[in-house]
Symmetry: C2
């Protein structure tokens, strides 16, 4: 008789955002007259930029003619896109990253979940707590996390780096030495980040202890402060210790278009084994490229018009962030984030648990947010709101919260 | 110091099609005047059908307006597509498959590589030999295949089911009992298939021994004979033992569009653990949906116009298949396949090895094919040509082969 991967049975509950979706649809069904505003899942609402739409129409037309039809894409992604990424996201910022160190994918969620596959089962992972749940869940599925303690909501073999009000949401070097360190900066869900100098310390630490940093830069486009790095490769020595994951979801609204990329410098090795070569092998075996049309859409985000249009879109969402932030402060909440990220992280009022506040907000204001505890035990007592709604909905949601 | 997944180091050479691509580009560079015809990798050459192009343009326009913009897709895929699949690919054929048993993905290659993740590491896999290399390679990466013997080119923990001229390329029940059985029918690379009655025997066998059949039906659209099943769910009892993988790459030319789906019936369980629930969890954690535009393109393949256009496209490629088959027979080759599949499988002449014939064909006729040994040890002495070229190139290639 066949056997299942028993690690899956260890996973508590379902994926955070699936749980929220189920709760919200149950509420909507029971209260069909209520106008629910969703500031929960980090999904965007603004349409794709005109430059992107134009590029996609053009690419669709190409697919309709034999002379310009495109079948299987090159393993690592089309050169036109990898060249644009290398130039605009790295070389123009003084980062030494070549096009053939970039792997184009169907999004940073897949990459952040799949990247652990090229590492041994006995590596110890360290994660910020709270953080995007996919890092831990994907390692649970691979059996890398030990035993789950339902009381503390922690895994025995995961090193948690608490990020709370007390330390300004900045992770500290763990007591136990990790092999793989996940850093999501600017952070999802806290919306906070660290300075370039602090990031350099992490790079130095990783090189010293022989750890790999898996650096999720999905929210890089929202950085507004000067002393925050836009890529980990701005730091000295990152080429020997860091993998960077990037997304087009938040800077270009590609959540439903699906495009991301992973950078693995060729110097990143375990003894003489190149992680670049391993990821190339995985990419070639377990994936078959992002759609041609989507890669052309990605390329368009780097054109002059595309860049200007995306800048406007980011500004639109960041205006929402300040609407939320200022509104909540006015309503008496303690609030973080919203400066270098499209997330507002608030302390739940009156000792409410994260899920209690979720229900309270859903039932009383018909506003959907995300319970902080869903991102890790240190997220308990916090709550995330996203700036990705429309202006109208964002304003309405905050008015409702103010009236509670 | 972090450690890598050592299973990757066990993989011999690179992914088959990457090796071929490198050999061909080396030859092209050394011989820039040669006109190379590629009948190697199974990539299509005909443009997307007009109904698909129209649907994609419409979907692109929707993505450009706030009112019709689509962000993250539902976990399992959009209902409009899952409903169309359930209706046209299953219910109209009398197969009892519901829309919520269908998981839309970015293609059957990813699914066929990822599906093993929900199974325990100690399952024993059985594969047809020769077969699409991804099944074995993905299991190697997960440590399920034991030790590699370079001499026989086999893995100690893989059950090989030889498919050769001697048994008409029909796999036989293995002596050792497998837990997971990969069946690709019609088969890639041999182009042969089995009857509905023979498939029923496999379903009965799997239910008897408690094995799961992973049924890859990527070439289903090419079936021309009456007594061949279009889905494994045409067989009694398949709902308790079979997972079916389907692709839009070959029936609709989506190799560069990226769309596929996996069916897991809700009855398919290991004791009380549902594989459907596990795959849903994996889908929700390690994947984030196929693009909206691509899912609309998939839906269009089921419209009246779409179906008629795809039928023409399949007929075009099958005409190529007969051009190749008849031409090779005329030239004295022993040839198989090409009736229910777009692949021609030939015996290499004069005791040549598969790679010797690859070089011979590339150098002397400037035609690229695929060495049979790349698909497994029993593929040695065979060679695959695909019918996915243009008519002009197909005719030219066969003329060159005839002149050798």
């Amino acid at each position: 008789m066949f056997k299942v991967n028993e690690n899956y049975q260890k996973l508590p509950g379902s994926y955070l955002f699936s749980t929220i979706a189920k709760k919200v649809s149950a509420f909507a069904e029971a209260n069909p007259e209520k106008d629910i505003i969703r500031l929960g899942i980090g999904d965007v609402t603004q349409p794709l930029a005109p430059a992107v739409i134009e590029a996609m129409h053009k690419a669709v037309d190409e697919m309709g003619k034999a002379e310009t039809f495109h079948g299987y894409a090159p393993d690592l992604g089309y050169e036109f896109l990898r060249n644009a990424i290398a130039k605009h996201d790295y070389q123009q910022r003084g980062c030494d990253i070549a096009p053939d160190e970039i792997f184009v994918s169907d999004g940073a969620k897949s990459d952040s979940a799949n990247i652990q596959e090229i590492f041994g089962a006995d590596n110890k992972i360290a994660v910020c707590d709270p953080v995007y749940p996919v890092y831990v869940d994907s390692n649970v599925m691979s059996g890398r996390t030990g035993v789950y303690d339902a009381k503390t909501e922690t895994w025995s073999d995961v090193i948690y780096m608490p990020c709370t009000m007390e330390n300004g949401f900045v992770p500290e070097f763990p007591k136990q030495t990790p092999d793989m360190i996940y850093l999501c900066l600017p952070n999802n869900p806290t919306g906070t980040t660290i300075t370039r100098g602090q990031l350099q310390e992490w790079v130095d630490y990783a090189n010293k202890v022989g750890a790999v940093i898996i650096y999720d830069g999905a929210y890089e486009a929202y950085i507004s402060e000067q002393d925050v790095a836009h890529s980990i490769y701005e730091c000295q020595g990152a080429r020997t210790c860091a993998i960077e994951l990037k997304s087009f979801s938040k800077n270009a609204g590609f959540t439903g278009v699906r495009l991301g990329y992973t950078v693995i410098p060729k110097e990143l090795k375990c003894k003489d084994v190149s992680l670049h070569g391993m990821w190339a092998r995985r990419h070639g075996t377990k994936f078959n490229g992002a759609p041609y049309i989507v890669q052309r859409a990605g390329e368009a985000t780097y054109s002059k018009e595309g860049k200007a249009q995306l800048k406007e879109q980011v500004a639109y969402y960041m205006k929402n962030a300040s609407v939320i932030k200022e509104g909540l402060i006015e309503a008496g909440y303690t609030v973080f984030g919203g400066v270098n990220a499209p997330y507002i992280w608030l302390k739940t009022p009156g000792q409410m648990s994260s899920w209690e506040f979720f229900d309270y907000l859903l039932e009383r204001a018909n506003v959907v947010g995300t319970p902080g505890s869903g991102f890790g035990p240190s997220g308990e007592g916090y709550f995330r709101l996203t700036a990705f709604g429309s202006r109208e909905n964002t304003l309405a949601a905050i008015e409702r919260v103010k009236k509670l």
